[in-house]
Amino acid sequence: MRSPAGSQANKPRHGVGVVLLALAIAAFLLTFLLLPVATVVVTAFSNAQGGFTLAHFSAFAEISLMRESFANSLYVAGMTVFFATLLAVPLAAITARFEFRGALLIQTLGVLPLIMPAFVGAVAMQLLFGRSGSVNLLLNSAFGVSLPLMEGLNGVIFVETLHYFPFILLNLAASLANIDPAMEEAGQNLGSSGWRLFRKIVFPLALPGYIAGASLVFIKVFDDLGTPLVLNVTNMLAPQAYLRVTSIGLEDPIGYVICVILVLFSVAAMGGAWWFVQRGDFAIQSRGGVSSPRRKLSGSQSLLAYGWIVAVLLLVLSPHLGILLLSLSKVWSFTVLPEQFTLLHYATVLEDSTRMIWNTFLYCGLAALLDVVLGTAIAYLVMRTQLPGRQLLDHMVTVALAMPGLVLGIGYLRAFRGVELPWIGPLTASWLIFVIAYAVRRLPYALRSCMAAMAQIHPALEEAAENLGASRWRTLRRVLVPLMMGGILAGFVTSFVTAAGEISETILLTSRESLAPMSYGIYLYMQSISGRGPGAALGVIAVLLIGLGTWLTHRVAARHASHDVKGSAP
């Protein structure tokens, strides 16, 4: 007899089709995720004869530039986490704990930075906050001082902080909102209040969310290639790896050593965060029916809250405004604002770069499609079958989250060197490699989205279809996928927009200009002073595209949340 509905352990059967599907997905992940990474790691530890050696690592340690780059990368990632925390914590506290009319404002704040790739905003930030940027020109004329906000590493920290603080904000706000109000009430009931209550109950319970966000910020910044390159900061690890591989060549072992270090730190940061969340045993945090009680803000608190939000909003919007101004300006240097405006840059871009825009749609569209198909299939295998080892697929995908784009890019170049495909030609110099590279690194997001959607669907809905004569495949198509459509669409758009702003893999894999997507075009334009205008124009187009996609995701998600037919699991 089958156990009652609701338990997940009631699907004992799996057919040949399920096994083949699982094997095909495993083969894809092995080939395009694990093989390239393994190639990079093996190369870092191999001598000329193919034997094991640590010589490359000691060579790395002997180069003073490498030691400096290593320290700089750690410093920049650490400082970014610090400043991002400063920005995010008050905002999260305001939304989750107080009656506040500007909740939408804060949500917007959480999304705005993410729709603008950090390396695109970096140039605009230099024009606004650089040594002779608008802010310093104003400060200099008014007070005779200037702030070194964009000098060297400061610039990277500043740009990355503004770009990545939403990761902490969103995670922390969610985990604060998820604390059962009874947890706090029980503390009050037993005599605790104010700061002590916060320190002993609220803070420890919200910590997992903060750690998750902070570790993500650390990884992203530690691995980032585009922002330092655009800001011309090369004494960091990722730019060094890129420069070694592109200038010395794919044979240079130091590049691989750097890649291994990037992977190790990313895996350690993610693993550490995971360990922390597991250890706390926060699983029983079931929310009661009561909605979270919010405190009223007093007059002065309100003023403080709004002041903080407006200040952050101005900062967050500055790269967007800057890039818009830049795209419209004829000349902009040593002045607070551009002196003459023009639409010429847009004309240039539309004339020269339609190919790039088309390429972006092609690569990102196909990659996102591949992601949701794989995501739905893996979600199904993990959540709806009893296939032995199915969790392994989930774990493999999660690994992709910790893989720097730079490392995968170098891995593809090295592992698939000389691989020729019929019709497509050399794999590493084809459009296909972009699709695969984009899809693999965004698969974790698409998978989470699909799994969340599937978790909402009570297995009884599928059992009802099977009971009425639908096969497993028909049930998947007619019941499961339609009910999951909101999550699938959200996964598609997330994959698409994050791929559209991708730069690390892109600059490594762009072998000729006809293959280049928009992000490469922006990067290329930004290399020369005369190209900054068109670069910014292309950037504005990219931001509009990504912004539109993000807005659509929210729309779809909201609509699917409102028509509530899913019969969520008890």
Binding site: D180, A182, M183, E185, A186, G187, Q188, N189, L190, G191, S192, S193, R196, L197, K200, I201, P204, L205, G280, D281, F282, A283, I284, Q285, S286, G288, P293
Partner: protein, 359 residues
């Protein structure tokens, strides 16, 4: 410690436009085990949370041990509350959960240790002190929640549906343990529940709430035997209720019911002072053969068996009388067959079991 009294005087509370509590008046005696019983949305939990200090009343006052606590924040009330979902902190061990309130009271470490050990002993959690809440069963979690509350030696114990997250068998056992514990500690206790059986079996007195209004306060027996209104009579136990008019004729009283017809009532019954419904409990009905002669001091009805349910200790019949269905519970004796559907029967109800409940 001397048990304290709780008084709720003219309390009203609304959330926005929704009136949740209206003119609540209650007196809970020192050491009493007192239930707030009502369906969901009746305001019983709101009232409990008001006493704990988590809700603010817009009118009236709450007195604990004679002191008005309306302005006292929850953390200074020394009122222990056990939450429905226990609200155990997952990041602390059992011992840390229990010690929390004592640490907040800045007790010396030695005292804290001693008191934690004492309550752990009291609720029989020995050996589980270093576990985390997630590693405990539902019943154990509930005992940790109680231990955590008792550790602070509260002047008042508030229980918010403490049994609702336990399975049926454990619930039965736990409610007995809870009662024994309450007797032993002699602590004034307020117990919120929607389960009439729980309230009837455990509590000294019960306040029945519906739609933010106290319907009746009394001992379990008083509520069952003398419900003051339709709601209480139906919420506590089952009841046969019939609309109609009491007629005091020359030949004796009678009851004109649209559903049952004109019934001759036993002469001992006196007319109710206001328009009322006639009520009697299903277990007060005796089913006899249709030829049963009239019996003094009883109301007699004739009907046909319409439906029956076997509930083990008794059979519950639905008997069609006129256009109404009357419930009649008959004790079951081993080997006795049930009456076939369609059997014509007489229903006898002793006059003492008949009540008139004001509309």
């Amino acid at each position: 410690m001397k048990p304290v009294a709780v008084a709720v005087e003219n309390v009203a509370l609304h959330f926005g436009a929704t009136q949740v509590l209206r003119d609540i008046n209650l007196k809970v005696e020192p050491g009493e085990f007192f239930a707030l019983l009502g369906p969901s949305g009746s305001g019983k939990s709101t009232l409990l949370r008001l006493i704990a200090g988590f809700n603010r009343n817009q009118a009236g006052r709450v007195l604990i041990d004679g002191h008005d606590v309306s302005a006292v924040p929850p953390w200074q009330r020394n009122v222990g509350m056990v939450f429905q979902n226990y609200a155990l902190w997952p990041h602390m061990t059992v011992a840390q959960n229990i010690a929390f309130g004592l640490e907040e009271r800045r007790l010396p470490t030695a005292d804290i240790k001693r008191r934690v050990a004492a309550v752990v002993e009291l609720v029989e959690l020995n050996g589980l002190e270093q576990r985390r809440p997630g590693q405990l069963s539902g019943g154990q979690q509930q005992r940790v929640a109680i231990a955590r509350t008792l550790a602070i030696e509260p002047q008042l114990l508030l229980l918010d549906e403490p049994l609702s997250n336990l399975d049926a068998k454990l619930r039965l056992q736990t409610r007995q343990e809870l009662k024994k514990l309450q007797r032993r500690l002699n602590i004034t206790t307020l117990f919120v529940t929607h389960d009439q059986e729980e309230a009837l079996t455990t509590c000294d007195r019960i306040a029945v709430l519906d739609q933010g209004v106290i319907q009746q306060v009394g001992t379990p027996l008083a509520l069952f035997d003398h419900p003051q209104n339709r709601f209480v009579s139906q919420f506590i136990g089952s009841t046969n209720l019939f609309a109609g008019q009491f007629l005091a004729g020359d030949t004796g009283p009678s009851f004109a019911s649209p559903a049952l017809g004109l019934l001759a009532l036993p002469s001992v019954l006196v007319a109710p002072s206001e328009p009322s419904e006639m009520a009697f409990r299903p277990h007060a009905v005796r089913l006899c053969s249709a030829e049963q002669p009239a019996l003094a001091g009883h109301l007699q009805l004739s009907g046909v068996v319409h439906h029956q349910e076997f509930l083990g200790a008794f059979l519950r019949y639905e008997v069609r009388v006129g256009s109404a269905l009357v419930l009649a519970d008959q004790a079951h004796v081993r080997g006795q067959p049930s009456l076939p559907l369609g059997t014509a029967v007489s229903l006898l109800i002793p006059a003492t079991e008949i009540r008139f409940i004001a509309l």
